[in-house]
Amino acid sequence: MGEILFRQALRDSVDEVLEKMFFAQTLGEVSGADEAGDSPADTIAVELMFEGEPSGSLCLRLTADAAREIAADFLGMEGAEISIGQISEVVRELANMICGSVLSRVESAATFRLGVPRIVTAGEECAGSLWTTCYRVPLSHGRLTVKIGAGTTKCPPPVQSAY
């Protein structure tokens, strides 16, 4: 299972999840030269561990305006009505859906287990992996960055929510 397979699965999953569940379209991939500018203070990030073949982690980061827009589209509400808690919950759900979709594409006959999506606080980095594939896409009100990597990370015990 290679990085190219993961990369394609990540692209397809992000595009499909945004289109079907958030009624949003990606506007092409962000080039390397445009990557700067997503300071942690202006973004919301979520980390999600998974176990399977392989195990690893996914890190998702959304600019604040994009996160509010995504949450509004998902919940069918106006952006101004959405609380920070609702935004956090929807962004965790987004990470969960993208991760599950990627893993289902790359190991459809195997089993995997997703951990609990965790909000990463400003100044904190997502855990690293042995290798990482990254997909950055502009949205109408900001930018989404998703990284997924294989490593030796372990999920927390399956006693908590994994939405």
Partner: protein, 128 residues
């Protein structure tokens, strides 16, 4: 005919989304009940009858697998069609949930018409 549907998911946002998608799809729903895990759902089913159950798998307290197992052991509740909604599209997981009594399986992400079609199929609603 309008149906009574129970949505079981630990994410309030996901429950809101599923309810919204059912409305968007045009599926006729008279009542929509919600529970945040299998245990809450079983409590609710002791005093509310529903026509269909939509359940997540990964939930605290009682997950979707255990919930389906409990439903299958109940002489009355086992007749209610349960549809799993999950990000996990692996053949193994689908087989496990089907063996526990799931009559349908919808993988996230999904379109409103996909959920409607699965609800109608499991409820035996005539096409058209």
């Amino acid at each position: 005919m309008a149906y009574r549907v129970l949505i079981v998911d630990d994410s309030p946002a996901m429950r809101t989304f599923v309810r919204r998608v059912i409305d968007m799809s045009g599926f006729e729903m008279s009542n929509c009940f919600e529970a945040s895990n299998g245990g809450e759902a079983l409590d609710l089913l002791r005093h509310e009858w529903v026509d269909a159950i939509l359940t997540d798998i990964n939930m605290p307290e009682m997950d979707g697998q255990e919930f389906l197992r409990r439903l299958s052991e109940d002489d009355v509740l086992r007749s209610i069609p349960a549809i799993v909604i999950s990000t996990d599209a692996t053949t193994h997981r689908i087989a496990v949930m089907t063996s526990l009594g799931a009559r349908g399986y919808v993988t996230k992400p999904f379109l409103p018409e996909t959920l409607r079609a699965e609800l109608e199929r499991t409820l035996g609603v005539p096409c058209g």
